[in-house]
Symmetry: C3
Subunit: 290 residues, 3 copies
């Protein structure tokens, strides 16, 4: 028996919006310490890691750890029946082959109850890349979303470069090429409690390119937090992370684009394969038919 209650359905709606665009369906782990998802997207380029801690729920009971295959598109449709301040209960009895969702208005007069078929999803268990990053950038999440959407007008890839007091996003398009430079508000630790401007924590130079299409999908999590944290190291997947207040976090990983034209990058490519562990690093050719 698993049962969890959230008093504000709004947050679960926003979590599903942040998940379903990248990962339509995945195995979800229910355990006594919370709910977690580790999943590649369907084209196996990006990785999503979601953690919701048990003590963030108003009620949480998990008698035994279990894994349930969930279609997030369907689950998001069901959640649309809830106002943001309705409560939502997720229930899975051991003998059921479905997940029950119950949405209830504060006055108890409106009750929506749905049974969602459990999916049988064949996916290998994935580790999350653990890296000591050379650069972390913390910035306003809506600003990051706007800038990725803006640059995607001109080209497929963005190059991110961190200087001591400035982070630069550049794009190389057919009609126009250019960059956005954001100067940091402070060069100190991005976790100093201040919640404004751009904060850069940098040990070494970093210059990496990423597919804008994926970065734009990651920004579906913008409604979950007004801050986003980018973590970069050369030849290692970028981490894009959003806190979910009082509940956990969602982090996306994306392997950098590797330029086939540069011969002296062979060493780096090997390094990539070591660092991303079981994460599939796609090369330029593969990404072009995304």
């Amino acid at each position: 028996m698993f049962e969890a209650l959230l008093e504000e359905a709004g947050v679960l709606k926003r979590i599903l919006d942040a998940v379903k665009e990248l990962v339509n369906q995945a195995n979800v782990s229910f355990s006594p310490t919370g709910i977690t998802i580790h999943s590649m997207d369907s084209s196996c380029v990006a990785l999503l890691h979601l953690v919701l801690c048990d003590d963030g729920f108003q009620h949480f009971r998990c008698d035994a750890s279990t894994v349930v295959g969930i279609n997030f598109v369907t689950m998001s449709k069901i959640l649309k029946g809830a106002r943001n301040d309705d409560s939502v209960t997720i229930r899975k009895k051991d003998e059921d082959d479905f997940l029950t969702l119950i949405l209830e208005s504060k006055d108890g007069k409106d009750v929506v109850s749905f049974e969602m078929k459990e999916m049988d999803i064949d996916a290998e268990s994935l580790g999350v890349p653990e890296t000591e990053y050379e650069v972390t950038v913390s910035m306003d999440s809506a600003s990051f979303q706007n800038k990725m959407r803006y640059l995607a007008q001109f080209g497929d890839a963005v190059t991110i470069e961190a200087e001591p007091s400035c982070v630069k996003f550049s794009v190389n398009g057919e009609q126009a090429s250019g960059s956005i430079s954001l100067r940091s508000s402070s060069s100190g630790d991005e976790d100093d409690g201040l919640d404004e401007g751009v904060k850069i924590n940098r040990k070494n130079d970093v210059s990496l390119s990423f597919a804008l299409r994926y970065l734009q999908t990651f920004t579906k999590a913008t409604t979950l937090s007004n801050r986003v944290r980018l973590s970069l190291s050369n030849a290692v997947p970028l981490s894009v992370s959003y806190d979910i207040e009082g509940l956990g976090f969602i982090t996306y990983y994306l392997a950098p684009k590797i330029d086939d034209d540069e011969d002296d990058e062979e060493d780096e490519e090997e390094e990539v394969e070591e660092n991303v562990e079981d994460m599939d690093v796609k090369e330029e050719d593969d990404e072009e038919d995304m």
Copy 2:
């Protein structure tokens, strides 16, 4: 000669929005007591009944009853030229083969004048089913609209069941099945003057299924009234009715879906044919290619 003046064009715009989606064109009766439409939709599944009383108009003159074929899509386009507080005059001279619409701003400076071709529509005259309903449910019209849109995400049909203090809308979909239960605010007469919550008036059990596609079209009338009244009896068309304040009402009728798999329903089918009079009751097979 027919001539009618409404000082607020906005209400006629909303009426046309409520009509044109279901019935593109129909014969409209102009008589000394008002304007009426009785029309099937083009697939002959649903029936629309509109009544606008003469005394709801600021000026109303009808020398002799007449029937005019009107294209409501065109008429709605013409009405878009009016601000909500412009006046609208509808005029039909006996010798004209067109309807004249005049939209005039309050200060008299802007005048829009259109002649709309009369349509020659071949339609038999329809009676409106008169039934003593077993259940009536009165509820907030926007809430009804939201709930029909919500359920249509999961399946084609909704089953409506009335219990003494609760009305239940349920859907059976491929990925998920569920229901919305709305508890009544009072079990008294729905016409007790209170204009809030859900009110249920119930003599017998009722459980009927309807095509969500049609119910969603009916909710185009939501802008006409903040209340909607559902009237149900077993094996009789559902009535969905909206008052138009000071002017009349619009009522939609929809035959229930009949489950072919249940052999013991043959008696009921006959009863249907008696009750709906000249209204064509479509069976599951016919509706599937809607």
Copy 3:
């Protein structure tokens, strides 16, 4: 070396919106007195004339007059990176084959810098028709936009007629035909300083028809000014003009539609060809495949 600075990028965004829909790309003249565009649209039916005076810019330097081929769609995309109150700098060094655009936030922390490839556009230099117009109508620009959009629902062409105290826009459609009549607020000069209502300045009768598709495109300039000025003479292109406060103006020209059915119009047609000078007057046949 050319360099110009505008402190409010918003106005340049709106100018590009007003240009790019009709003219995707064109040669732009940079001279010590300002920036100008003369260009036909791609189907050679309408003419656009934009003038931005040097003293409307906060900084303006032009060492020598030059002509640069610019793609306005790309330029508009780049400008989207600016908030309305960001500054924008346009720079062209003599040796560069690109235009540089720099968008900077008021606090100097966000800088967007783009290089836009210069286009090689083969276009003959155009003169602007100079005419003493028989009728000028000044009216609210948003009202003009709404009315053109409204009439386009019914037909392809609008006929504009000016009476001493009234301007009439009429359309002849398959389903409905009608007109909008706007009474003037004053019959005096439209430049009397008052900024409200409709003002008509009329020497002779005028009745001309124009393609609504083009008039609708011209109204993309509505955000530049709350007034629009229409200037008409029989058998001469219509001029539709918007002031850009403190900076210049944008004027569109459109040749009237000529009715092939009327035999007695041959004289007028010849007059047309004289009056529009180097402007290509399209006849009904050509416009039908627009």
